[in-house]
Symmetry: C2
Subunit: 317 residues, 2 copies
């Protein structure tokens, strides 16, 4: 087709840099490659350019580049502020650098926002215009679509949904604040609770071990064996996840809630207490009418597909 556009998408992760080229209306990339991020080696941008040249389509015009990166970042200015694993990229103007090198528009947003955008365009949210996406893994992140638009905010810092206070005097969050959703419902929060209880002498089939940190996965395995402490840890995570999602329904009133991230694979261990809590905490039953609660469909490709969706949205294709 004459007006078919081609997009190059980049997913900057802590362990891997990924890139792929997509033709409009084809969900599968026609070229793709991944390399290690190599956290402590210099010239990450050089490696990124090399990666992009490797996957650059030979006989196609590329119309734009979309980039997904961990935050904090400024999507309006296209600046990555302090990515967790690339020390040289402090306030790094990645879209300006890419546009300078390749001569085409480049767009940036954070991984959670773009995973939400990917689910809206290609995944579980395809039939929806108002979407709440939550990733529950080491941390809790959010992406919000309102009337088919990505919620970005004035500084581009909207939808930091893990850092909503649900218990003002609650436990410490990784960010240094107290009582955030993330401090209860993330893998880190689940591990913290079990560790504290074991230190206090609580009985469990799990034990503290100087050589192996407890993981949310180990705890879920113990829970499946009937370990009361581990079951309680997930029950607390689910309870506060329900309180957090009730808050988000009251704030955004979406038609679908999509869960991504490793901890959201915990099944009824997490989602039974979640559902009980959500139903208790919602202030009007209409919020739940027709509300779909489901899992993300796109898995590891959400970053690339979200970066692609952002570029397509900006080009209005």
């Amino acid at each position: 087709m004459a007006h078919m556009r081609t997009i190059v998408a980049v997913d900057i992760g802590g362990t891997q840099l990924r890139a792929a080229a997509y033709k409009q209306n084809q969900i599968q990339p026609f070229t793709q490659k991944r390399v290690e991020t190599k956290a402590d080696e210099p010239d990450t941008f050089g490696r990124l350019i090399k990666l992009l040249e490797d996957i650059w389509p030979k006989n196609e015009t590329v119309h734009a580049i979309g980039v997904s990166s961990p935050g904090p970042l400024d999507p309006h200015a296209g600046v990555i502020m302090s990515p967790p694993n690339i020390k040289e990229w402090r306030d790094f103007p990645i879209t300006a650098k890419l546009t300078q090198h390749f001569g085409i528009p480049s767009y940036l947003d954070n991984d959670a926002n773009l995973a939400g955008l990917a689910e809206w365009k290609f995944g579980a949210g395809r039939e929806h215009r108002n979407i709440l996406y939550l990733t529950v893994s080491t941390g809790v992140g959010g992406g919000v679509i309102i009337e088919d638009r990505l919620l970005q905010g004035y500084h581009g810092l909207a939808a930091e949904l893990g850092h909503i206070t649900v218990q003002a005097d609650g436990p410490l969050c990784g960010c240094g604040q107290q009582g955030h959703l993330e401090s209860y419902s993330s893998g880190t929060g689940i591990e913290r609770f079990v560790t504290e209880q074991l230190r206090a002498g609580r009985d469990s089939i799990l034990h503290l071990n100087a050589h192996a940190k407890l993981s949310a996965h180990t705890i879920s395995e113990a829970a499946k064996k009937g370990d009361a402490l581990s079951i309680e840890a997930y029950a607390i995570a689910g309870k506060y996840l329900g309180i957090g999602v009730a808050n988000f329904l009251h704030a955004f009133d979406p038609s679908i809630v999509i869960f991504g991230g490793g901890v959201s694979q915990s099944g009824s261990l997490l989602f039974d207490p979640f559902e009980t809590s959500l139903k208790e905490r919602v202030i009007h039953p209409r919020y739940l009418e027709g509300l779909v609660i489901t899992k993300a469909e796109l898995g590891d490709d959400a970053g690339l597909l979200g970066a692609r969706a952002l570029a397509e949205l900006k080009l209005q294709i």
Copy 2:
């Protein structure tokens, strides 16, 4: 001007029904009138029609009617579900009724959303595209503008910002849930705290009186005389208001926060502890860069002007 539009606006309140006719680009109405709601008399709709006929412009074509009402309501369907003071209006399809009677489009949304929309179009938020409006009075209500659009949500129930949980095991809210922003920071919340403390024998210049309920205003007067209990009541309200607004910055990332409602007239009594709390609770200083925190400009006319702004937005004028 040939293309100048005329809008009729309606503000349905618990004590008054108000209506006004506005010409585009004129902030003042050219006709207006108010009558009592008369809560317990039947035929409120008949009185409303009469009121509209009284203010209907004689030599102008009216292009649309905008209606502001207390919630809960469905703005998409134009249905008022259960207004606090008009018992006969259960699931009342007000926009369909008005359109049937007057033969022009009618639009509905709730008072807090429309006060926010009015401030965006005519008030303190005129230069802003991303707005958080909070009314702090008997309750706490919200209105959110994102990229020049009113946030309504799938069921039209978005921005119920008084009913965000900030302390999951906190005090009871008027809605029956626990630990909502409204249960701490509304006039009702301030009164509840002082009443509880007085019942527990706390020393104060205020006293419980079977004939006169304590009001947030009485408490603010006592605080200005140095009453420690009253000062503490406002300090708690301000602290949780800061926690709530931090949550809303993390969720919406606006460029302006506008406060309306009687309790927001309490000055430094409320806003000193609010500012301290907000600065403590925000997760990244960039949220506060360039952020304007200010008072609503439109006062009692916010409902009418918001209803007008809604109609103008829908007509795209």
